[in-house]
Symmetry: C2
Subunit: 363 residues, 2 copies
DNA sequence: CCCTCGGACTTTAGCGTTAACGTTTCGCAC
DNA sequence: GTGCGAAACGTTAACGCTAAAGTCCGAGGG
């Protein structure tokens, strides 16, 4: 801990009491202009900064908001955090990020830590939130808003998105292009958002009179590598003309899997993502995807937490934001399957095993 | 602020003084087993957690390390932060991230804020660190270690990497593949790492007897979009056979720019990155790049800060870590330029303007 | 029987702030 | 000159915790 200037030192130097210094610095009345100027001057000169711990202790609050996130490892969590940061900055609140990293136990630990008077409230991004953790939050009476929780019916104020409509429209887009053999990579199965998106997928197909083929549906983690692997298997075994993925990272994997198998995207194979991570527009061709308003989600949650902290009762416990289909370059009408098959059969040596790391194109 | 249980409440409930409770909970001697058990029992039952602000105020330290980062928007900063987190977790220190977001002024503000007794020390990731800010750190006497500062000669303990050797080897790799017309996209010009990498580039060429063509060298921001744009211009105007980029994000842009112009990577065009972001291995073909040991950089900085906080004098003020060339799929021997030119001329309608969003390959 | 010693606790005080209340001073009306 | 009120400032206490310095008591030695 650096050697710090205290209010008492400023007071002595300025020839007044500590209380006067405090009043001046906090813009309270009860000090002459002359004194005010002198105090400000001395404070400036000594580089005085009020001690946060002392102030918090006295005030019984800290002005800090804690942000817990499982997911600081991806752009997903980051975009949300940026939304939070923007909203809190506007409210002159400070933000402390205290990541959890892939671990439900650590999640509880983090809450206990933050709730020891360090923060006034907590925002959680994509939390696991098992029963025990929710109970802890309730018992400690910590103001808390969660964003995209694993279980959407959790008994806490929460911000979620319209996963169902989003995926439904995305798949409708694929259908309208003419695809009927559409593979689906679901994402982690213990997340409500995964199953809700899947319902959107099923309903879109059913509504269009297309039957859901269970062989075209697989689960995998929300990662590029798993997406690549799952898509490779799916394409190799069941030849869909398009894949709808439960997340952008999976979709990126799927795009590259298709390429690795010698399929051109989108001419010969279409891929639909879900999230609209920054990377989706920063790749070539841009990923067609269902946009979650990540920044808005963060802002909405932050705003809700602030109003709770202001003592207002929340009107909505469940804040659902809309999703939006963003059509970019990874979707197109399906190509002539026979033609593709012919081409692939013709060049069927070499591209199946060690495809990653070599270009799938040839001159 | 949630309603909190204080040590006094535990003390009363257990029929002892607050001091005894404190001693028991902190594992200090001076309490009978009987009392000890009773206190622990009551504390558990009431859900007592010591108030951090009070403890900090008393102790004059907080056990917290502040992490300031300009760059929480990219994987670059994240990987470093993870290294920091891992090291601090091992030392049972808590970490608070308090991002800065692209703004030197806010950087100073953040330091002032954290230095008000909230943290014991500060780690800064890729800081701007103007004179004034360094002076502030010095004046406040805040233990601080910086990682990859914009100016590498800054008078603070710092962790940097061997940018020179890294780029030199990377370019040697391109040269050894047979490239001689190598474009260079430098990255932001006010960063020392940019100019040092550029020196590595120049020296590699010179050593190989290749002259540095200034028309093949351009500057741009560390973003995908700028990389795309810069590479498009460079390729369009001066036809290099390869590009070395000052950062992976730029390299990704360059890869896609080449594709957008109808060039196959790596068969017809090679790209070298610098950083080895996770994305570099999670793309197709994988990006050949110079690896910065981001995780290690975070760990190293954290370890250094911890030893400063332990009162040890640092032996090294400048901790330089090695870089490593990672050869993946975006580099290969240069193709026959005439053949490519012929092909491009033949299909020169349509691929020049609206190339983004459509696949660069054709059947 | 007194003294000492050490274990088991309690009391005091203070970390830096600030709310609440107290005191001084001074101008002004009567 | 007396009284009064407001402005300007000081004092006290408390937020929750814990280091340091007591207090109390019973066992053991002389």
């Amino acid at each position: 801990m650096p050697d710090r200037v205290t209010i008492a030192q400023v007071a002595e130097e300025a020839g007044v009491s500590a209380m006067t210094v405090s009043n001046v610095l906090n813009g309270k009345p009860g000090a002459s202009d002359e004194t005010r100027r002198r105090v400000l001057d001395v404070a400036q000169r000594l580089g005085y900064q009020p001690n946060i711990s002392a102030r918090n202790l006295k005030a019984g609050r800290s002005g800090l908001i804690g942000v817990l996130t499982l997911d600081l490892t991806t752009q997903y969590g980051l975009e949300i955090v940026r939304g939070i940061a923007d909203e809190l900055a506007a409210a002159e609140r400070e933000l402390l990020i205290n990541a959890t990293y892939q671990d439900g136990v650590r999640e509880m630990e983090r809450i206990e830590f933050l709730s020891r008077g360090l923060v006034d409230g907590v925002l959680m991004v994509a939390p696991v939130l098992d029963e025990e953790t929710v109970e802890l939050l309730r018992r400690k009476n910590i103001p808390c808003v969660v964003i995209d929780p694993r279980r959407q019916d959790v008994a806490l104020p929460r911000v979620i998105v319209d996963n169902y409509e989003g995926m439904r429209r995305g798949v409708q887009h694929l259908l309208s292009l003419g695809h009927t053999r559409i593979g689906y990579i679901r994402g982690e199965s213990d997340m409500d958002s995964s199953s809700i998106r899947f319902r959107g997928f099923c309903d879109a197909l059913t509504l269009a009179g297309v039957e859901v083929d269970p062989r075209l549906v697989v689960d995998c983690d929300f990662t590029y590598a798993h997406g690549f692997q799952a898509a490779s298997a799916l394409i190799g075994e069941h030849r869909p003309t398009a894949i709808a993925a439960g997340a952008d990272l999976i979709a990126f994997g799927a795009v590259d899997a298709a390429r690795a198998l010698g399929l051109s995207v989108p001419d010969e194979f279409s891929v639909l993502g879900f999230d609209d991570l920054p990377q989706a527009s920063q790749s070539f061709p841009g990923l067609t995807t269902v946009r979650q308003p990540l920044h808005d989600m963060g802002q909405t949650a932050a705003r809700a937490l602030l109003s709770i902290l202001d003592g207002q009762r929340l009107l909505l416990d469940r804040m659902q934001l809309p999703t939006e289909l963003i059509v970019r370059g990874t979707t197109a009408a399906p190509a002539d399957v026979d033609a593709i098959l012919d081409r692939l059969l013709a060049s069927s040596r070499g591209t199946s095993d060690d495809a990653v790391g070599a270009s799938g194109q040839d001159a």
